[in-house]
């Protein structure tokens, strides 16, 4: 028997988790549908135009998207390492790898996709009732406007995983008062990380662009300073920011996920 990963067992874990999480996803779908409906009715009753409707809707869905996806580990798996409620989860005959990947899949993949899907379906349901002349074709209207422009770029997706990995770790690390402790942890982590980055950047400046910076101070003309600064910001960060981005968006999330995996492995109830 493969005690590390078995595809059939993994699908069973996915199915079992889905069964337990279906209630939360149904609630989420109802919240999204209700929010869209309220906005729709509000714009109709007060005679607002399509732009008002769309702007409010985008603001609401952005709020829901950020709020729900970032806190998904707490919303969906809050009790998994609880001394009483977590026993069933840990005693389930599946490997830790399978359980962890299932958790990651539902928090990182299913939740955001579900929000997009629920928003799209709600849009599609409301579409026949639209009275605005601006209304576009079915999916060309629904899909791109579900999320704010630029939300689905690679950078944003990576950043999303980076933020969520922190909360994922917080959920695995703490057994009680998870949200509060994680927030405090993130504040401390951010302070330490900011210090690390400032040291990194100052090192980069001193190595790559020391002379250019020295040129700024004797220049009396503001426009000249700006020009020099723009040269600096273009030049210095290229390498520094690439390293920073690599650490923030790849090394850090993967590291945090790995730590959460190890924590789950060492978790005692």
């Amino acid at each position: 028997m493969n005690n590390t990963f078995n595809w059939q067992r993994f699908t069973m874990v996915l199915r079992k988790d889905m069964q337990g999480l279906s209630r939360q996803f149904i609630q989420l779908a109802i919240i999204i549908a209700a929010a869209f409906l309220i906005i729709f009715v509000y714009t109709l009753v007060f005679g607002k135009g399509y732009d008002t409707y769309n702007n409010i809707r985008l603001a609401v869905i952005t709020g829901i998207f950020i709020g729900v996806t970032f806190t998904a580990p707490f919303q969906l798996y809050k009790r998994y390492n609880h001394k009483i409620y977590g026993v069933n989860y840990f005693m389930l005959p599946a490997s830790l790898t399978e359980k962890w990947f299932s958790m990651w899949f539902y928090c990182g993949i299913v939740t955001p996709l579900f929000i997009v899907l629920a928003s799209t379906v709600t849009d599609c349901c409301l579409y026949p009732f639209y009275t605005w002349t601006e209304k576009a074709l079915w999916f060309s209207f629904a899909l791109p406007s579900v999320l704010p422009k630029g939300l689905l770029t690679l950078d944003v997706i990576i950043s999303f995983f980076a933020v969520q990995s922190l909360l994922f770790l917080g959920n695995a690390w703490f057994q009680r008062a998870k949200v509060q402790k994680t927030v405090i942890g993130i504040i401390i982590f951010s302070a330490v990380y900011a210090m690390f980055i400032s040291v990194l950047l100052s090192s980069a400046i001193s190595i790559f662009n020391f002379d250019l910076i020295a040129d700024i101070s004797p220049t009396p003309d503001d426009s000249q300073i700006t020009a020099n600064l723009s040269i600096n910001t273009d030049y210095i960060p290229t390498t520094g920011l690439m390293i920073l981005k690599f650490i923030s968006c790849l090394i850090a999330p993967v590291g945090l996920w790995f730590v959460s995996f190890l924590k789950m492995k060492e978790q005692q109830l």
Partner: protein, 268 residues
């Protein structure tokens, strides 16, 4: 060796659990009965020493071992779903799980499996979980206070079921304070003391060494005496080899009052 925070719970304890038996795990509050069950289940890890179950380390939480263990804690969580759905989606992880058996046991316990866990009382939830556990047909059942919260008919049903499903390759470890509920069921008996094991013997061995009975007056050498309407219940050393029926509660009280003597009697 195991610590709870700074408090040492076990130190230098060593014992084996045989197969095909129904162990009764007794002990005062806080001696570590639940801790021991959780170590065996792999939910807690010993700081020093090792615990091996079916040739594997429970702390590694390998699926191969987990599919042979069912642990029902005294307090447990249940999902917000129907009992039958829980059984279907969780039972598939246990190779020997039988849905028909589950339905039968649930029926015997008078649990409606078409209802959601949230609609059931604590006792019914416990019965549903017990029925599920029995139907998994695992090799090791760890039950922590299984009769707590059960009504009188359910306790009887529980005893019947355990006796029915007990098999040569199936071991039960039942931690309980309700010794009278399980008196005729458990054998061997393990009595835990602070950091130690006072007794781990089959009923037959205990009854060879101890005599349980009623006397008009408690003898001086009685290990335990308890006044009753028709005399005094006593626990004495069985020096004459007389047969008697073990009274679990009196055995436990005698053990608590004569720890050193019990160790001498049973561990040497």
């Amino acid at each position: 060796m195991f610590y709870y925070g700074r408090k040492m719970v076990f130190e230098n304890i060593s014992f084996d659990i045989g197969t095909g038996k129904i162990y009764g795990l007794l002990g005062e509050n806080g001696v570590g009965k639940t801790t021991l069950l959780r170590i065996i289940a792999g939910l807690l890890f010993p700081e020093k020493g090792s615990c091996t179950v079916l040739g594997m380390e429970p702390a590694k939480r390998l699926p191969a071992l987990l599919q042979e263990i069912f642990y029902l804690p005294e307090e447990f969580g249940t999902p917000f779903i129907k009992v039958e759905n829980f059984a279907k989606n969780t039972g598939c992880f246990y190779p020997a799980f039988c849905m028909e058996q589950f339905c039968t046991y649930a029926k015997e316990f008078d649990v409606d499996i078409t209802r959601k866990f949230t609609e059931l009382s604590f006792g019914q939830k416990k019965k549903a979980m017990l029925a599920f556990g029995m139907a998994t047909n695992v090799k090791l059942m760890l039950l922590d206070e299984p009769t707590n919260g059960l009504d009188i008919p359910s306790k009887t049903q529980f005893r019947k079921l355990v006796a029915q499903v007990a098999a040569d390759d199936r071991t039960f470890i039942i931690s309980t304070h309700q010794v009278r509920d399980l008196e005729n069921l458990i054998d061997p008996i393990i009595i835990l003391d602070y950091r130690d094991v006072l007794l781990n013997h089959p009923v037959e061995a205990i009854s060879k060494k101890l005599w349980f009975g009623i006397r008009d007056k408690a003898p001086d050498n009685a290990l335990y005496a308890e006044p009753a309407l028709n005399g005094v219940y006593t626990v004495e050393e069985n020096s004459s080899g007389r047969e008697s029926r073990i009274n679990m509660e009196q055995l436990f009280n005698a053990a608590m009052m004569n720890k050193t003597r019990f160790k001498q009697l049973f561990n040497h």
